[in-house]
């Protein structure tokens, strides 16, 4: 009985997901597509929870439904046309369809066999056997910050690179105009709660779902909300501090890694006794960096006055080209 209910639930989730994906990709109106895409992010969060991946559900709810939604909605304005129509010729369309269908069949066959033939041995057993010396009891955090810490370090580098590209390319987007006082009123008490919740996610990541990524995304969501309700707020930020925050995650990560290299002869090989504290320190720094990076990514470019104090001539040239662009 209960299996049948689960199965019905699964089928509904999957059908809804596919329908949302299909309409996202085939609707003609960009605004509509973005809205549907956000809805798909929310649904994915539910699906991660269903598939017993609560860490992902948290991250997806904040990033997939929140931050990338804000990012895409504010990006719509930058584009000339609100329509999304494909201009491919019928022949081309047919070829694309055939190619996609063939690929789908091939992939389905591969996955089918992969699942059928798997002997049930999983990496999770290896993780579980080493979990006690990792310094944390949440296996996902153990993988991210201990067993595969290299990946996470490099991922932070990828995020930093992406944000640097954003900063190099553009000035911050123009502000919104009229803001509802009701939104401002809510922001005043909601942002502190979001910040504390972010801290909680960071803390709880050691032994339950949560961690630096979820916490960083939550903090970024708080800053984006603040920016939406008080558009001039970023002018109050200290831009040197902002630069430091942007890189502090990688900085601390590398410093800890080098320190461990002096002690244990291997980069990022923590001593088991300290592992818990070291992971918490790295995660705190990573949370701040991820939050700063995602906020700057949302702003879509350099905040006002980013160049101030650095090479006068370079900043002058920059503003010159920008003036040229406006004409």
């Amino acid at each position: 009985m209960i299996e049948i209910l689960w199965f019905i639930f699964d089928i509904m989730l999957v059908l809804l997901l596919l329908a949302l994906a299909w309409t996202t990709c085939s609707t003609q109106d960009v605004m509509r597509a973005v809205t549907l895409f956000i809805a798909m992010g929310l649904l994915l969060a539910v699906i991660w929870a269903r598939l017993k991946a609560p860490d992902l559900a948290l991250a997806e709810a904040v990033i997939g439904a929140g931050i990338s939604g804000a990012l895409l909605l504010s990006a719509i304005k930058d584009y000339p046309s609100n329509l999304m129509v494909s201009h491919r010729s019928p022949v081309m369309r047919g070829m694309i369809n055939i190619f996609t269908i063939a690929l789908t069949i091939l992939m389905s066959w591969a996955v089918w066999h992969g699942i059928e033939m798997s002997d049930g041995k999983r990496l999770s057993e290896q993780v579980a056997s080493q979990l006690s010396i990792s310094g944390v009891s949440n296996p996902v955090t153990a993988v991210l910050l201990n067993f595969r810490a290299y990946d996470t370090l490099l991922e932070l580098a990828v995020v930093l690179t992406a944000v640097l590209t954003v900063l190099i390319l553009n000035e911050k987007r123009a502000d919104h105009k009229v803001i509802s006082p009701l939104l401002q009123g809510m922001t005043r008490w909601l942002v502190p709660l979001l910040v504390i919740t972010s801290g909680y996610l960071l803390w709880v990541g050691a032994h339950a779902p949560g961690g630096a990524f979820q916490a960083g995304a939550m903090l970024a969501a708080a800053m984006i909300l603040l920016q939406l309700a008080y558009p001039s707020i970023h002018q109050g930020f200290n831009l040197y501090l902002l630069r430091l925050l942007l890189v502090i995650g990688i900085l601390i990560f590398v410093l800890v890694g080098l320190w461990m290299m002096l002690l244990n002869d291997d980069f990022l090989a923590y001593s088991p006794a300290w592992a818990g504290s070291l992971i918490l320190i790295i995660e705190t720094a990573a949370t701040l960096s991820i939050a700063t990076a995602l906020t700057l990514a949302y702003l879509g470019g350099r905040p006002t006055g980013w160049e101030n104090g650095l090479k006068k001539s370079a900043s002058h040239k920059d503003s010159h080209t920008d003036n040229g662009r406006v004409k």
Binding site: D10, C25, V34, A53, I67, A75, R93, F99
Partner: protein, 94 residues
């Protein structure tokens, strides 16, 4: 357990195919980006479907960690692509 793994990984493949088709069909940046993100979501779904280990157990932590980093990288990459597109539009106007 296998039936859920199959169902969700097939859904992941479906998502990937829908996204891929739209990526190939569209010319404009924003629709393409959305489609690519749908594609990515499909890949994540396949990972987690295979990581599924029954209602009582947590999913395999290694694919979870990979997908977690994947989600964050995807949103940064989207932001970067949007910034590139915005700069392109600005250059076109010039």
């Amino acid at each position: 357990m296998i039936s859920e793994q199959l169902l969700y990984s097939l859904a992941g493949i479906g998502l990937f195919a829908i996204g891929l088709r739209a990526t190939l069909l569209h010319h404009m940046l924003l629709p393409r980006l959305l489609a690519l993100n749908v594609c990515g979501a499909g890949v994540f779904l396949i990972f987690i479907a295979i990581a599924y280990a029954g209602v009582e157990n947590m999913a395999d932590p290694v694919p979870q960690a990979l997908v977690l980093t994947g989600i964050v990288v995807a949103v940064s990459a989207t932001a970067m692509a949007l910034a590139l597109g915005r700069r392109l539009e600005a250059l076109k106007d010039e």
